[in-house]
């Protein structure tokens, strides 16, 4: 259990380090990439 937590913490630390090195992070949320995505977007009406 404690081992899992350590692994999780190490993973988190690696992620934070990687994030610190980045100057910009952009997430294109819900961005339609293919015909199926476009269909879903159009159906949802956004």
């Amino acid at each position: 259990m404690a081992n899992d937590e350590e692994k999780e913490n190490a993973k988190r630390a690696r992620f934070e380090k990687l994030k610190d090195e980045l100057e910009l992070t952009v997430w294109l949320k819900d961005f339609p990439r293919n015909a199926l995505d476009f269909q879903e977007l159009r159906r949802s009406g956004a």
């Binding site: 910009l24 952009v26 997430w27 294109l28 949320k29 956004a46």
Partner: protein
């Protein structure tokens, strides 16, 4: 009394018309632009991951987190539609009922808007980086 200086209302991430002719001479950013590249069997799992990502990357652009927010952005469909309306790629009616819009037109509108929003985020940061490199 000197004339009041016009306040610069440009903010990061707000797509505006600005001169980007210097873009070629600016340093590149160590950036990471991503979209959803996963497939889940259950919709709930996808929504949970999206929620976690949103909490990680959506940072309020005001107050103490304003500086951090310049470097962590979430671009949503609503941002793209707003930009498309602002630039006239889509009319108000089209943006509110995209199911009726010609697919090619919609693709072009969203692509252009994405490029413009990305440029409005990256160009100011690249200018800051260029200034910092000049100083050091």
């Amino acid at each position: 009394m000197p004339p009041k200086k016009k306040e610069d209302k440009k903010t990061f991430g707000q797509a505006v018309d600005e001169d980007i002719s210097d873009a070629g001479s600016l340093p590149l950013l160590n950036d990471f632009v991503f979209f959803n590249l996963y497939a889940f069997k259950y919709r709930r799992n996808r929504l949970n991951l999206e929620k976690a990502l949103f909490q990680e990357f959506y940072i309020p652009p005001e107050g103490e987190t304003a500086e951090l927010a310049k470097r962590n952005r979430v671009i949503q469909i609503s941002d793209l539609l707003n930009q498309s309306k602002a630039k006239g790629y889509l009319t108000e009616d089209e943006a509110s009922k995209i199911a009726d819009v010609d697919e090619t037109k919609l693709r072009q509108a969203l692509s252009r808007s994405t490029n413009e929003i990305l440029a409005s985020i990256t160009i100011p940061l690249r200018r800051i980086k260029a200034d910092q490199e000049r100083i050091f």
